[in-house]
Symmetry: C2
Subunit: 333 residues, 2 copies
């Protein structure tokens, strides 16, 4: 559990895209960010108050979150000057970088000296159980995709926002590093040891009130040969009541796998439901989320309408059109 | 890679069942075992020559394999006296115990001093790649089951033996600790980090001669919610040409999961083939292996005959009846 609220560290971001993690926090949990910290030359701007460490501390920030990808894969000396000072001033640090904070001996020494935490969200901090398959109370949704990196996290976050706006009881459950930094906790599933994958998702989505929805961030795809085992563990560990099928219509092949075609939405529905019903016989496919970012407004609407007619399920781009119709369908379960 | 041949350490085995690993080596790779080492009170006997360390060393043994489950989950002082002496006399040690050799500082010190290896086969020794899904040459078989612990390893080993007897070119590919100790190498898949599971199986079963068969030991089951992700990674990383369906007819529920019924062989076939064809569109289900250990001779024959008539695939208990008909079917691919 990462302490909130955050000061978002944008460093010397070479362009706005490098600050994707900070943007995710800004978009989805603005209440978690009291301000941004920018170094000379920073090309990213979250439109949050620029603060130095003392100002952010006074504003209540508990954790400095590295919201930017680093250059050359290393934590630079220029960054380190800020990170050391932050630890000395009472901040914890959180990062999703490949270059782990805990592998930097000088940062570990400073954190230890000042009693602060270093959170590397790529590394599990919990000893997860082996899944026991026992039915849990409360409701669970899982986003599954025809491919990786197709909008599953954004779909779950859009549904989370819509449910919150309606006053429904829900929790976005992060299963990847960006999601964990956005919300402050979750399971870095791709780094969990095989035997404990499904158990980690049971741990993440425990018994809850009957009307509470866990909105579980998907990972990988049953049809992506590199990562399908991770998806399988989400389907069985999450024991979802509802699946949202996610698709991006313009992909010519599976991400990183030339020669592998995407499955159809029908194939995804049939395969995912068959497997999901092992853990939860009542599981249903309730809606379809299309990632239309490569389409015009009219193309997006047409594609969703055609898909809805073919599949018989509410079909929207939740980021572009809102998740209202998906939440309507979930509310009927 | 564990150096062979072995001296099998049976310790003070309280009963024959405790020496399951040694029995597996004795049954499936007798050429890997020059002898056995028994301590006072040992109740197990592999019918191998009893040897002390010096005799085994003279007979060519390279590795002392702990072939017995330890009492109380710890490596006892009585065992350690033998293990230290073995390291001093030039043996490597290999173990599948939960209590890792590498966690015993005194054993590590002795091994380091004498330049010997400690192999804990529960711990991956290789940095595996992420799977790339590229089609590999050679043929691959994977055993899949309606449940865990249903005879998948024995099925693959029976097929391996039959193929060797026929002079066919094949390799048993171990994916669990017992299999690794039997053959001297493999992937401890249940201990691999999620992102690298499928890649570890690609690594284990590389390009090979067109007529070579990799006989891949299965793990878990697509229908076992605790471990299905591991099975999924085997199906996609192994890109099998052939599946053997494994079943045990007398189970009342999935292993360790009261309330979860076993799937039918038809459900297993359909689900496993659908997923396997993502990685290898030519994959076929070629035969069925029934674990009939809880049945009389006649019951076993009747059950196999009924299953064969229903499923249209050669059906045997390969351990009881031999794997000849399964190998016939594989030879036709």
């Amino acid at each position: 559990m990462i302490e909130t609220p955050y000061l978002l560290f944008l460093g010397d971001a070479p362009d706005p895209l490098a600050a994707k993690v900070a943007q995710g926090i800004r978009d989805w949990r603005p209440e978690n960010a009291v301000g941004q910290y920018r170094m000379p030359g920073c090309k990213a701007d979250m439109k949050l108050p620029d603060m130095d460490l003392a100002e952010a501390h006074a504003a209540g920030a508990k954790t400095l979150v590295i919201g930017v990808a680093n250059r050359g894969g290393v934590i630079s000396e220029a960054w380190k000057a800020v990170l050391h000072t932050a630890l000395e001033q009472g901040f914890d640090l959180a990062s999703g970088l490949h270059n782990l904070l805990q592998d930097e001996a000088d940062l570990v020494a400073t954190a230890t000296r000042h009693g602060r935490q270093l959170h590397d969200v790529r590394v599990p901090e919990v000893k997860y159980p082996i899944a026991n398959g026992v039915k849990r109370s409360g409701k669970r949704l899982l986003a599954v995709g025809t491919d990786c990196s197709i909008g599953k996290m954004y779909t779950a976050l859009c549904i989370d926002r819509e449910m919150r706006n309606r006053g429904m009881d829900c929790s976005f459950r992060a299963t990847g590093q960006t999601g964990i930094l956005i919300t402050g906790d979750g399971v870095p599933l791709d780094a969990v040891v095989a035997d404990f994958m499904a158990g980690s998702i049971e741990w993440l989505t425990p018994d809850n009130d009957p009307d509470h929805w866990d909105l579980i961030e998907g990972q990988g795809s049953l049809f992506h040969v590199s990562y399908s085992g991770v998806t399988m563990a989400l389907i069985h560990g999450g024991q979802p009541d509802a699946l949202i099928l996610c698709h991006e219509p313009t992909r010519s092949h599976m991400r990183g796998l030339p020669g592998y075609k995407l499955p159809t939405l029908e194939q995804l529905r049939d395969t995912a439901l068959t497997l999901a019903r092992v853990a939860n016989p009542a599981c249903q496919a309730v809606g379809i989320a299309i990632n239309t970012q490569a389409m015009s407004d009219q193309e997006a609407l047409d594609y969703c309408a055609e898909t809805e007619a073919r599949m018989g399920l509410p079909t929207v781009d939740p980021y572009r059109h809102g998740a209202g119709r998906l939440v309507d369908a979930l509310g009927a379960i």
